[in-house]
Amino acid sequence: MLLSRLAWAIGTVWLAASLAFLLIHLAPGGPAIALGGDSGAPGYLEEVARLYGLDRPLPEIYLDWLMRVATGDLGHSYRSGQSVLSLILERLPVTLALVAPAVLLSAIVGTLLGLLRTPRGFAASMAALHAVPGYLVGQALVMAFALGLGVLPVQGLVDGRGPGGGGIARLLDMARHLILPVLALALHNLTFVALLTRTRVMAEMERPYAVTAAAKGVAPRLVRRRHALPNAMLGLVSLFGSRLGGFVTGAVTIEVLFALPGLGRLAVTSAIARDHPVVIGLVLFTTAFVVTANLVVDFAFRRLDPRLEETA
């Protein structure tokens, strides 16, 4: 099991790298422009072609490309000249500060909502709410709390006119700026968690142990929380792990809407500026990141539940 998960993780990154390779070589103007950009300077493209050894046979270029990806050499941005990896690592904290609280919030509130004795039509309304994209939720939140009530900032990560300086004040300012984006990202995913919890818990409630607990007089609320939930949790966490990628891609529109300097906005601005190496790097980095996060969730889970360890 452990080995097969590891093979899946490496295979996924390999697939992303191969896909990127294919796209680079199919791109109009050829791989030199895709990797080095169209600067127009004489001799520049020849320079790029030499740098990446593009005159060699294709299999050789491919192996070289895989080696580069494996060692984290994602090339250089041709807008800033900075290495793509350092550019990504610079922006990563912002995306993490947005995604991590959203993941926690939707996991906790979603589970609680799913545990409630829900009225008829709950599933349908949650499914309908889930269909509302996060950025629309974000825009509605801005209209209500930033433009309407004026209690929270409209966009940005820090207040340019703020007190400045570092330390606690700056962190608090950032936190204030992140409230609406986190809510927007969480609300969209929370509905999904609530639906999932509800379905799983309802399935557990029909199992003999839950029926027994109810028969001996345990309150339904307690049967759900004490007996059904812990067992339903198993499938929930692993399914939640597979949704982590959704949070990262959901962050793209949220970061653009709130002008947060994270990975998603970097991808969009780079794509608009045709800064291909950065976008390629972001696809590979995100894939690796999501796959690693999934592995961590998986292994942590195997430790928590001895039954899974046995079947491994």
């Binding site: 697939l15 599933a123 309908a128 950025y135 891609t249 291909h276």
Partner: protein
Amino acid sequence: MSRHARTIAGAIVGLLYFGCLFLEPAGTLQSLPMSAPFLPPSLVHPLGTDDLGRDMLAALTQGGRTSLMVATVTALLAVGLGMVIGMAAGLGAHWLDDLLMRTADMVLSLPALLVAILVASLFGGSSLNLALVLGLTRWPTIARIVRAETLSLRRSDFVRSSVAVGSRPVAIAFRHILPHVSPTALSATGIVFGGAILAEAALAFVGLGDPALTSWGQLIAAGYAFFDRAWWMWAFPALALCCTSALVAVAANRE
């Protein structure tokens, strides 16, 4: 969710999109006639006009066509690949099943939206390219479901009888398996369809949509900037996107 509600939701989506095909030819906002800017909804302009005096209803209709086109191509591609691969995995040898399902797991883990952004960066924004990317990355959702159903059908008497009289696997797949997996596959296709609607709008929202076609995402981004003086510029595209996506979700709900 009752069968009834699902059918109604599906029918409304169909009618909305069907209307879009006839109300307005495909094109960009630039192709629309201009009148006075920021007109509120009235009889002449049922949904008002935008900042350059273009009719919002016409703009919404153009956006609907783009949305429908991307979602349909995506769904067709995904359902074609998903059905064939799912049935092959379910009926084929153990190694084939293993290979196909492992590939499906990996493809499903790719960040589709970012791949779409990369394609937009390398090839320029294009609705067809977006649909290709989405179709080629979303087939595993359908393939998984089709495979699971095929595996259970494989043990049924009618399939075993068919094997016994010497039918070839391909014939069994299309004559006996396909009719049985179609309803579940259709519902999974609905989910892919809805995902494509949202992905198309998201890409246009961040400015990487097809420059030759109007999109709801583009209208939402533009309308947001004028919300304080012309609420209809934001509210109607937002409503169109939410309603369509929610109705598709209801129609595809199997619960």
